[in-house]
């Protein structure tokens, strides 16, 4: 299965600090996506990185991908209280078999 496993499971930081979350997966992928879920809401797509890319930026987000280690990281810089949410990675294969996403990383940004 294309399971993404996020690490750490929980992260608590102060506003203004950077937050780093990691994701590991087991099989070959053609891209990897990161999503955010606010409490009680649906998931929102943040960023997609293709398997031939090593790094991608979007605003305060920076994603890296290391296909040799089957891992990815999501860095949120200058965090804000509004970044408090759970973050999930979704490894994607050609047949879209994102079967199990994992528990995500629960990020708490304290004002």
């Amino acid at each position: 299965s294309q399971q993404g496993e996020e690490d750490p499971q929980a992260l608590s930081i102060q506003e203004g600090e950077n937050a780093t979350m990691n994701c590991s997966y087991k099989t070959s992928i053609n891209n990897l996506q990161w999503y955010r879920q606010n409490s009680g809401r649906g998931l929102v797509h943040l960023i997609l990185i293709r398997s031939n890319e090593r790094e991608k930026h979007s605003g305060r987000l920076r994603v890296t991908l290391d296909t040799s280690k089957k891992s990815s990281s999501l860095l949120i810089t200058a965090s804000r209280a509004a970044d408090t949410a759970s973050y999930f990675c979704a490894p994607g294969a050609g047949n879209n078999r994102k079967l199990i996403w994992g528990l995500g990383t629960s990020l708490a940004v304290n004002p």
Partner: protein, 112 residues
């Protein structure tokens, strides 16, 4: 305009009942999904469906069945509801395989 909408938002029902959750997307996407998120926040795909292929997660009981009247709708029908079916169910859609998925706001199902 809401991209992916699902109804109802909350559903409380008794064991043994049959219920449906509706999902509609106005994005023109070809692929739609149903996910289940349990109380531990574990998110698992149940079905992936486009007009060509239905992919079923083999761990999903056959009491669950997707029904697609047209490309913009994928409803989830559940027979003989059990306590363990209590969870939040999310509908999602994407343009193609492995592209960005858009999620609905979820349906919180409580079986009593």
């Amino acid at each position: 305009d809401t991209a992916v909408s699902q109804t109802p938002k909350y559903l409380v029902t008794q064991m043994g009942n049959d219920k449906s959750i509706k999902c509609e997307q106005n994005l023109g996407h070809d692929t739609m999904y149903w996910y289940k998120q349990d109380s531990k926040k574990f998110l698992k795909i149940m079905f992936s469906y486009n007009n060509k292929e239905l992919i079923i997660n083999e761990t999903v009981p056959n009491r669950f069945s997707p029904k697609s009247p047209d490309k913009a709708h994928l409803n989830l029908h559940i027979n003989s509801l059990e306590l363990g079916d209590s969870a939040v169910y999310f509908c999602a859609s994407s343009l193609a395989e492995s592209t960005e998925a858009f999620f609905g706001q979820g349906t919180r199902l409580t079986v009593v």
